[in-house]
């Protein structure tokens, strides 16, 4: 508290400092021990049926006639998988371990089930108490294996979605250097518009993925950690960058705008984080047969994300960074798409995907703040001059237009 009077020197008399520090913890431990010993909630437990919450996180089809269920117990207590019903028929399964799953434990079930390529399958777990937990596979298809074709396809997608856009953005760099200062701010405002759209997009993806997060993993808390973590983390990273460059006096105080290159890197990092989450989602959707990776979709991603490239170079329009910086920034922004797609395709976890998508959303949010401050440094009205506002709105519209092309 700021109004607490600071002691001039640590007090020497009285109980030892370590004792004072540990006392609350010891009391807490005592309370916990008492609670488990006395078990005051026992009457409630006896009166109510157990609360069970199993989630089938992922269904995979490793080969014809075989189905694999990846189950996690997100409930407050252990639950026992007694039977499995597939398409309204009991079906035998093998489980890799004990059918009783402790809280937050995972299990994999394998069934010899004659699943049908391209059709819907409804899967239902029956616990020992007769409760049921369902999962629907909209389109069954052979799960991708880590083979050359798959790695290449997603490598290519990553190149198009992440790396190439930055290279295209780089080509705008000479153009940006030749234009008037106020037009540079027009393009920075356009960047804010692009990112604002992306932030909404990112939150939508996050919420979508979080619908499958088991209750025990606290989707809302996970999103908060991701978003706030990214905002705070990137801000600290920005301040670190300013300290290194030893820049202007505002930067030394830690609350002024970051120099252009730092902002460009921050944008690259945030887009990289976002693309990691997006890659996870794309890989998973592909392996679940929920999207077809047509060339139209890949081109759509490329166009959509080229705008991300522009966003990266706009802050360095009035500087002359070394070429290697463009290579680094391209890598930081683009490569995570490839990594995410590989990971998502082979082992998708809604919990991890939610966390990374939230991280991406928070990162973009922080970058919007940084770019806005960069604009305001030269223009007190910031985004709200007629020209800058037009840029912002145009950014939103460009994103909307290119987003129409990635509707899977």
């Amino acid at each position: 508290m700021s109004d607490a009077r600071p002691d001039a020197a640590p007090r020497r008399s009285g109980p030892a400092r370590w004792f004072l520090g540990l006392l609350p913890l010891a009391l807490l431990a005592g309370l916990v021990a008492f609670f488990f010993g006395a078990d005051p909630t026992a009457p409630f437990r006896d009166a109510f049926p157990p609360v069970e919450d199993l989630t089938i996180e992922r269904v995979s089809f490793p080969e014809t006639g075989v189905m694999r269920l990846h189950v996690v117990n997100g409930g407050p207590e252990a639950a026992t998988i007694a039977q499995v019903i597939v398409d309204d028929a009991f079906w035998q399964f093998e489980i890799d371990g004990d059918p009783t799953l402790p809280r937050l434990a995972r299990a994999t079930l394998e069934l010899d089930y004659p699943w049908v390529e391209g059709e819907l399958h409804a899967i239902r777990l029956v616990t020992s108490t007769g409760l049921t937990f369902d999962r629907e596979v909209a389109v069954a298809t052979l799960s991708p294996r880590p083979n050359a074709l798959y790695l290449t396809t997603f490598g290519l997608l990553g190149l198009y979605a992440g790396v190439i856009p930055v290279l295209v953005g780089l080509l705008w760099y000479p153009f940006l250097r030749r234009i008037d200062r106020k037009w540079i701010h027009f393009y920075l405002s356009l960047t804010v518009g692009l990112l604002a759209f992306l932030v909404v997009d990112a939150f939508e993806d996050t919420l979508e993925a979080s619908a499958l997060v088991p209750e025990g993993f606290q989707a809302a808390g996970l999103i908060a950690v991701g978003v706030i973590g990214a905002v705070v983390g990137l801000r600290a990273l920005g301040n670190l960058g300013r300290g290194r460059s030893g820049g202007d006096s505002a930067g030394a105080r830690g609350d002024g705008p970051s120099p252009g290159l730092t902002v460009a890197y921050l944008i690259a990092i945030s887009i990289g984080l976002h693309n990691l989450g997006e890659g996870l989602a794309i890989g998973a959707a592909f392996s679940l047969g929920e999207i077809a990776l047509g060339s139209f979709l890949v081109i759509g991603f490329a166009l959509h994300n080229t705008t991300e490239g522009l966003a990266i170079v706009a802050p360095v329009a009035d500087r002359r960074p070394a070429l290697r910086h463009f290579a680094f920034m391209g890598g930081i922004a683009g490569v995570p798409t490839v990594l995410g797609a590989w990971a998502g395709g082979f082992s998708y976890s809604p919990t991890l995907a939610t966390f990374f998508l939230a991280l991406g959303a928070g990162a973009i949010l922080q970058v919007i703040i940084e770019v806005t401050r960069l604009i305001r440094k030269s223009w007190p009205q910031g985004l709200f001059t007629p020209l800058n506002a037009t840029g912002l709105l145009l950014g939103l519209l460009i994103m909307y237009g290119t987003a129409l092309m990635v509707t899977a």
Binding site: Q83, Q92, V126, T132
Partner: protein
């Protein structure tokens, strides 16, 4: 006997002839995948469900083996579906001064958790701790006394189908927990009836397990046969108003894993009662044979010959048949969904059953 397995070449020929011009590629694709699976099976990479020509294949092979429950259905404490099938409760028999036969039963309503499939438990309301309740059997004209004690947690009754005075009908009075009521009436008409709780909300009191078969034999009796009672029931284990587990006599797939043994050409008689809730109808289908249906069992001289019969909720029929060939005869609901959710079983017809083996011949000698 097992189905013949097509070679890959046969398969391709079939594809070329039958699907030519439609999608040859699909057939080729299928064939190659089939081949992949074959190779896997041969390599031992697939531990379960041997292929059609696998050494361990039983009467049902391939994915047929993988269908069904994990674990073996067995007796559940107070209730053994194997014994229940042929268990007819004739009550305590006394003879009144006027020569009328009096039968007395004690029925107790109890809350009990029952096992409806291996490892799946259901909080049931029961008569005498079992679902279905005991099969009560008597002869037309007997005086019946059913002393009903409610030791459960909710009010219950026993409502009998058949003809009797309304005050003995089990609609009223409601028997509160800790109370007792004795139903007394004359058994008529002969036929296959049922009893169930008639406390509101009716649907819950029935689906939780308060029902059973009630057989009134004709005065002249029925021809001796291997007699069985099958109560078609189902359980809404997650309480969503829809059944998850189906069976005859409660335990899913019980007679699938423990086939019912009868002799070839022996007269078999099933007392079949439908107590399924939520689903409007249920049905019985016999494989590799036909049966006579005596509707409600109330006429001995009229029947229909079929292999599939549909029953509404509360409907019941007496079925009679002889299996002409030895081997496994499947029986199940002809609603495929019910069948695969547990209502499926086998009769195993054997040429010669040793004395005391298989389903006993009845009516039991203790019947007078």
């Amino acid at each position: 006997m097992r189905p013949e397995r097509l070679s890959r070449r046969d398969w391709l020929k079939l594809g070329a002839a039958g699907v030519a011009g439609v999608s040859g590629a699909t057939v080729l694709d299928l064939a190659s995948r089939g081949g992949a699976r074959e190779a896997l099976a041969a390599s031992g990479a697939m531990p379960r469900a041997p292929g059609v020509d696998g050494a361990a294949a039983g009467p049902h092979a391939g994915h047929q083996d993988a269908m069904g429950i994990v674990g073996l259905p067995g007796p559940d404490g107070a209730f053994d579906p194997g014994a229940f099938l042929t268990d007819f409760d004739y009550g305590e028999v006394t003879t009144r001064a006027d020569g009328r036969v009096v039968r007395r039963w004690r029925m107790v309503a109890l809350d009990r958790e029952i096992e409806i499939a291996p490892g799946v438990f259901f909080p049931a309301w029961t008569y005498n701790g079992q679902v279905p309740g005991p099969t009560l059997r008597c002869t037309e004209g007997d005086i019946l006394q059913v002393e009903f004690t409610n030791a459960g947690s909710h009010p219950h009754t026993i409502h009998f189908h058949g003809t009797h005075p309304p005050e003995m009908d089990g609609f009223e009075p409601i028997v509160e927990p800790g109370q007792r009521f004795t139903y007394e009436f004359e058994a008529k008409p002969f036929g296959l009836h049922l009893y169930h709780c008639h406390t509101m909300p009716l649907k819950r009191h029935i689906h939780k397990g308060l029902y059973g078969a009630f057989i009134v034999d004709p005065p002249e009796g029925r021809e001796p046969a291997r007699e069985m009672v099958m109560v078609m029931n189902a359980f809404d284990s997650n309480l969503d108003g829809d059944n998850e587990v189906y069976a005859v006599n409660t335990s899913a797939f019980y007679y699938h894993h423990h086939p019912v043994r009868v002799g070839v050409n022996d007269l078999c008689r099933i007392y079949l009662v439908n107590t399924t809730e939520f689903d409007l109808i249920n049905s019985f289908h016999l494989h590799a044979g036909m049966f006579k249906v005596f509707r409600t069992g109330t006429r001995a001289d009229q029947y229909e010959l079929t292999d599939t019969i549909m029953l509404c909720q509360g409907e019941r029929h007496v079925l009679e048949f002889r299996l002409e060939h030895p081997g496994m005869h499947m029986f199940h609901a002809h609603q495929s969904e019910f069948a695969e959710l547990g209502w499926m079983g086998f009769f195993e017809a054997v040429d010669r059953l040793a004395a005391g083996e298989g389903v006993p011949v009845g009516p039991a000698p203790r019947d007078v």
